[in-house]
């Protein structure tokens, strides 16, 4: 336990930051007091979102359907999966070939096969990802916070130096077009920069993020901070400075310095892991991100997102050559996901850590969007019969039925929820779970009422749209 002084000091700082945020910035949100909102008892203290950016095809991964091997001349209409089904640790749950390691830990997980997304007309990854990450379809009249920002805002940090909301693998600069638009939701939104993500663009370089900049020795860095404190104290105008602003700068500098000097920052150093552990997570950037996420979850992060980083027409965003690409993607995700589950379990943390694997939508071979959608066909491998391998795969975006995999954090083990049709259209035909309800479930597990609202620009803004999100109670153990 922390000693009493630390606690009161932290409480004080927390209070300070809450009141100060709710002030000068015009878009300052304040918690709406409503007697309808009582927060549920949390079943998880930490949430790890494994984000499959680009639209992971469910029938190629977590929801196997009729498999047709590649054969020149085959009617593409016949193909539902390009991978055969495999057994898992749970009798009635099958996955697809390439996910053997995930299959082996399926008895620890809950699989939703009926996740659905809104039809937004023209498919744009940035808009669907914005929707999934904030719960609100863009554009919005105010900057909607990322769900991680909600957790940071409502629950606060779990550890005094580990940032509550950490984003792993999302590149920050470069990239044009749609990758620019991703920046709109990877923020604290109207909660402000305090609740935005702490970015770790490259897990291999994670230690860099919490270490002095290159060229700095630890001594130089500490000296620099010490002399700063001296200069602040020596400032002749000190007493005339507006103290809340003055204090907020010093407090933030102090917090930053403490993280940069704390023993906990070693949580960011995946190179500290034994080689066999590193091997178990594999060589992909995503795998390294999972390993880092595990270390951060252990050290007290509140919400961590690990992504494969959205690349237009790359990774899960298969507009052609889907089979080949998905086969590669599975080699990148299979081992680290399973290892993350096992490692957390071994440390006794899985019970209180909610892992959620999701994607902005699924994919289909034939239909763009969903039946009746006016989404434009974006396949780059249009054909009625297979002629070459690039035709083989799910090359159209699909919003009417996708899969979400969850582990730990109070969810059931070896549990299957929802179902998609066995023939096209592969719609969620049983217990559909919208983004809103999925968020309500995640929030509930974390101890946040889906009805939590903040007042922004004189109107209520809810954790789930209009406070209507309903937690899927069947998923809880």
């Amino acid at each position: 336990m922390d000693n009493q002084n630390d606690l009161s000091r932290r409480d004080y700082l927390k209070k300070l930051s809450a009141t100060s945020l709710a002030a000068l910035s015009g878009s300052a949100p304040s918690l709406l007091a409503s007697d309808d909102v009582s927060h549920p008892a949390p079943t998880a203290d930490c949430c790890i979102l494994l984000w499959m950016a680009g639209g992971m095809a469910a029938t190629e991964t977590l929801d196997p359907k009729r498999y047709e091997p590649f054969e020149v001349g085959l009617d593409v209409e016949k193909i539902l999966s390009t991978f055969p089904a495999i057994d898992t640790a749970v009798d009635h749950i099958k996955l697809t070939k390439g996910l053997e390691k995930v299959a082996a830990v399926m008895d620890r997980g809950t699989l939703i096969r009926s996740h659905t997304q809104a039809d937004l007309g023209h498919i744009l990854h940035s808009r669907h990802q914005y929707h999934w990450h904030t719960g609100y379809v863009p554009p919005q009249t105010v900057a909607a916070p990322h769900i991680g920002a909600w957790m940071s805002k409502v629950l606060g940090p779990r550890h005094e130096v580990i940032p509550p909301f950490i984003s792993i693998n999302q590149p920050l600069d470069g990239g044009g077009g749609e990758t620019q638009e991703l920046k709109a939701f990877l923020t604290g939104g109207f909660f402000g920069a305090d609740h935005g993500p702490f970015h770790v663009p490259d897990p291999e370089e994670a230690a860099r993020v919490v270490r002095p900049a290159s060229g700095f020795t630890a001594d130089r860095f500490s000296n620099r901070y010490r002399s700063f404190k001296k200069l602040v104290d020596a400032s002749p105008d000190r007493d005339r400075l507006s103290s809340f602003q003055h204090d907020s700068i010093l407090k933030s500098m102090d917090n930053a310095y403490r993280l940069l000097n704390s023993p906990e920052r070693s949580a960011f150093e995946i190179e500290k892991e034994p080689q066999e552990v590193r091997n178990a997570y594999g060589d992909s950037k995503f795998g390294k991100g999972c390993l880092l996420a595990r270390r951060l979850a252990e050290s007290g992060a509140r919400f961590i997102e690990v992504t494969n980083a959205y690349k237009p027409f790359g990774d899960w965003d298969t507009h052609e050559n889907g089979h080949t690409t998905v086969a590669r993607m599975k080699t990148e995700i299979d081992a680290p996901i399973a290892q993350l589950v096992l490692d957390l379990e071994e440390r006794g943390l899985l019970d209180r850590t909610l892992i959620v694997l999701a994607s902005e939508f699924s994919r289909d071979m034939m239909t763009e969007g969903r039946p009746g959608s006016n989404a434009r066909d974006q396949s780059r491998a249009r054909t009625e019969k297979l002629a070459e391998i690039k035709h083989y795969g799910m090359h159209r975006h699909w919003t009417a039925g996708s899969s979400v995999l969850m582990f730990g954090g109070g969810m059931k083990s070896g549990y299957l929820y929802g179902k998609t049709a066995d023939e096209r259209p592969i719609l969620a035909v049983e217990n559909p779970v919208s983004i809103m309800d999925l968020h309500a479930t995640i929030f509930t597990a974390m101890g946040i009422s889906p009805k939590t609202a903040f007042d922004i620009e004189k109107r209520p803004f809810y954790a789930t749209e209009d406070g209507h999100g309903k937690s899927v109670n069947e998923l809880f153990a």
């Binding site: 039809d119 023209h122 638009e181 000296n223 200069l231 002749p236 000190r238 930053a256 940069l260 620009e457």
Partner: protein, 801 residues
């Protein structure tokens, strides 16, 4: 409860209508208060229905009439409190009305809702005046009265038991006014001459000279306007032309100090350069009805120009202010080219909007006119001489920028009460009388005693919100752009990027230059025969120069040669051409046909670009003969055997072989060309650059929504970026490197210089001592970098005092 005194008051006078059968005071008020207050009284207007006043009850909800006076049984209100349908029952939660209570209500409605005149269940909600109002300037004189602003402030202080804070020193003043008006720090020379100046009007003259610095004024206020008009250079919507920047309009507008009324006219009834504002963002795919371009227009016009929040009302009648769904849509209909159906919470209502203005007292829109006329009419209504809401909104924004907190605050909540109505009115009147001159308004405020007063010491930020009483200026944190500019200023560092210009280059001009840059993709020796590879090759272009061109004093050319190390014109080597610079080649040229030859030794891959420019006055024109006919030959020595190329390049010109485009050739060349015309291209102000990692980290927004106030605090994540962020560290490192080469080698002089540049003051003895320790015996780049870091982290530096 806050109503309590009013109820008492009402009881005293209630005898007037005791003759009525229902006793409103004793029988109706308690029922309504107990069962309806939570959703329909004070600020609550669920379903758009307020029961604060009789008129409000009669007005009904957004779904229509709630009571029919004289017909209690037929009134919806009676049905709602008596029904068994749980979806209709009122109140929806808690105990329902007893049968007796319901009957009382019915009877009350039958009796046409008797009410006490002037009685309200809610606080009297503030309704700001629409028109300009004359203000009586109090007759107060004294040393603290510089202008009428101070008279009004003095009067306010008198009634609030406050007095003017002390006048700030010249050091604090010069730094404040520089940062506020042009966003830069005063340089040492300016600081010294200002301090040495003993004339009484030196502050006024400084204000005047800063506002006269059009380039820096523009670069600074661009941040404010880009935020307010949500103008960005990259990001959402630009990918497919769904959004258009207004930069080409905004920059000259600010530079020429176009009056605000004309700015509004040009934004609302726009030219092609300014149409980006009203057109908003067109998102690909389907959007919520409250986010169509037309409704965005309604919201943006309301927020930017009038400080009115139409965001609530564009979904349903506002619960928090007086704006109605119809009004939001009618405003939207002004820009619509098709009839727009009113949607309530994204559901079609079957009703269509009619173009209309929200303050009909000033006139209205001719709904039958075409869009262009309607927009023109709207623009005139917004800046109508009697429209005091537009002027008050802008005057309040400028006050907020210069004094740290609005007279109305937040500045977009112009429906709420100012802390001083006379002051706000006076500023708005002044603004109008000065012909909507923004600089005149800024000068007026900056010349007041209150602007020149010491900032308040505020312990708790909440002081600025609840029950705020004005007591003096509030210090503010530097904006991201100011902060980056200030550091670059101290370090004398140039940060380059393609848009890094103090003088904005119109996009059309950039495009025009870009379009003239020709690529010649060449022979790819990787794919060549072994003989080709061994020998290397050369290429030759022939182009015409007219005798008239040769009368120009200079002819410039640019060749980007990739791997070549030799360029010849008419057989003479032109050594500097290969470096990619633009150089004068006039002496190499002759009238008629000229030969350009470039030799490539045996390397794997090569490319080049060739352009010639004729200087014409101040302009540089692309020489018509810049693109000639190309030939190539194997080998770089001996007599070449010229051959026709086998391919056309991407511009359709003959090339040896098509290879991929090579970057970043064109941007560099483009900038070189533009630099000839814009010699200050290298001076970078952060506001003109694309948003980058550092600026984003420091709070520069995405600008998808209007941002009228930024965060005023440094967050922990921002502190992390400043403590160990790579890009910030590099910036300081470059600054240190530059300073070590340009400043004195004597640490004491460096310390004084950096303090003066950064904080507009000399260091104290103690500060000097600590600084000396940081810099060390022998000043190195590292130790200087550490010193700079220490200074720019100081709250005194980060906050505009």
């Amino acid at each position: 409860m806050s109503q309590f005194p009013k109820v008492i008051l009402f009881l005293v006078f209630s005898t007037q209508w005791l003759a009525a059968e229902v006793d409103f005071a004793h029988q109706i008020v308690p029922v309504l208060k107990e069962k309806c207050a939570k959703c329909h009284m004070e600020d609550n207007k669920k379903g758009g229905f307020s029961m604060n006043t009789r008129a409000a009850i009669l007005e009904g909800s957004e779904n229509g009439r709630v009571v029919t006076p004289g017909d209690g049984a037929g009134s919806y209100l009676y049905e709602a409190v008596t029904t068994d349908d749980p979806d209709l029952l009122m109140p929806p939660k808690g105990e329902r009305l007893t049968a007796a209570e319901a009957e009382l209500l019915k009877q009350w409605i039958d009796e046409k809702l008797p009410w006490q005149a002037g009685f309200t269940f809610g606080e009297e909600s503030y309704e700001p005046p629409l028109k300009h109002r004359p203000v009586d300037i109090p007759k107060i004189e004294g040393p603290e009265i510089y202008n009428d602003i101070d008279r009004l402030v003095a009067d306010y202080f008198k009634s609030h038991q406050n007095e003017f804070p002390p006048l700030v020193s010249d050091e604090v003043f010069i730094r404040r006014v520089y940062l506020d008006l042009i966003g830069l720090l005063p340089d040492t020379e300016k600081l010294e001459s200002f301090l040495a100046d003993n004339s009484p009007d030196k502050r006024a003259r400084l204000i005047e000279s800063l506002l006269a610095d059009g380039v820096n004024y523009t670069a600074h206020w661009l941040t404010f306007w880009n935020d307010l008009l949500r103008n960005a250079y990259r990001g959402t919507g630009f990918i497919d032309g769904g959004r258009k920047p207004i930069t080409d309009w905004l920059i000259p507008t600010l530079k020429e100090n176009i009056p605000y009324d004309d700015m509004v006219r040009q934004l609302v009834s726009p030219t092609t350069d300014s149409e980006g504002f009203i057109n908003g963002i067109k998102w690909r795919g389907d959007v919520n009805a409250s986010q169509t371009r037309e409704v965005q227009f309604s919201q943006n016009i309301g927020q930017a120009f009038l400080g009115i929040n139409m965001k609530c009302a564009s979904c349903h009648d506002s619960f928090v202010d007086r704006w109605k769904l119809d009004e939001a849509y009618n405003l939207a209909a002004i820009i619509a080219t098709e009839p727009i159906e009113i949607h309530r919470c994204d559901k079609a209502t079957g009703k269509f909007a009619t173009a209309a203005w929200i303050f009909p007292e000033l006139g209205n829109i001719d709904a039958g006119a075409d869009k262009k006329v309607r927009l023109q009419q709207l623009s005139e209504l917004l800046v109508h001489p009697d429209n005091g809401r537009t002027t008050r909104t802008m005057a309040n924004r400028i006050w907020h920028r210069l004094l740290g907190r609005g007279i109305v605050h937040p500045v977009d909540a112009m429906d709420t009460e100012p802390w001083s109505e006379p002051l706000l009115d006076h500023l708005a009147n002044y603004f109008k009388e000065q012909g909507y001159d923004l600089k005149a308004l800024m000068a007026y405020i900056a010349n007041s005693r209150i602007y020149q007063s010491r900032s308040m010491v505020i312990e708790d930020e909440s002081f600025l919100n609840d029950g705020y009483t004005f007591a003096g200026p509030v210090a503010r944190r530097m904006a991201a752009e100011q902060y980056v500019d200030a550091i670059e200023q101290i370090g004398g560092v140039i940060t380059g990027s393609s848009r890094a210009v103090p003088v904005h280059i119109p996009r059309a001009e950039i495009k025009s230059v870009e379009s003239k840059i020709r690529w010649l993709e060449l022979f790819d020796l990787k794919k060549a025969t072994p003989a080709d590879k061994k020998a290397g090759y050369r290429i030759r272009a022939q182009f015409d120069v007219s005798p008239k061109d040769l009368t120009e004093p200079q002819i410039f050319a640019q060749v980007n040669t990739g791997l070549s190390d030799q360029v010849k014109i008419n057989g003479k080597p032109v050594s500097d051409l290969k470096t990619g610079k633009i150089i004068d080649i006039k002496t190499y040229l002759k009238p008629g046909q000229n030969d350009l030859e470039i030799l490539f030794p045996a390397k794997s891959r090569a490319y080049y670009i060739w352009n010639a420019f004729v200087k014409s006055g101040d302009d540089f024109l692309l020489h018509s003969g810049a693109i000639g006919h190309w030939e190539w030959a194997r080998g770089v020595g001996g007599e070449p055997e010229w051959k026709k190329p086998r391919f056309l390049n991407s511009s359709g010109h003959p090339a040896a072989r098509q290879i991929s485009r090579i970057n970043p050739g064109p941007a560099k060349i483009r900038d070189e060309i533009l630099r000839k015309k814009y010699p200050n291209l290298h001076i970078a102000r952060a506001s003109l650059r694309d948003n980058d990692l550092l600026q984003r980290a420091l709070g520069r927004p995405n600008r998808e929504q209007i941002v009228s106030m930024r965060e005023n605090r440094l967050t922990m994540l921002q502190a992390m970026d400043l403590s160990n962020g790579e890009s910030f560290s590099k910036l300081l490192n470059r600054s240190a490197e530059n300073l070590i080469n340009t400043l004195s080698k004597h640490p004491d002089e460096v310390i004084t210089s950096v303090y003066e540049k950064s904080l507009s003051r000399a260091p104290s003895d103690l500060e000097r001592e600590i600084s000396r320790d940081i810099i060390g015996q022998k000043m190195s780049r590292e130790s200087l970098q550490d010193f700079l870091w220490n200074i720019v982290m100081l709250p005194e530096f980060q906050i505009v005092q």
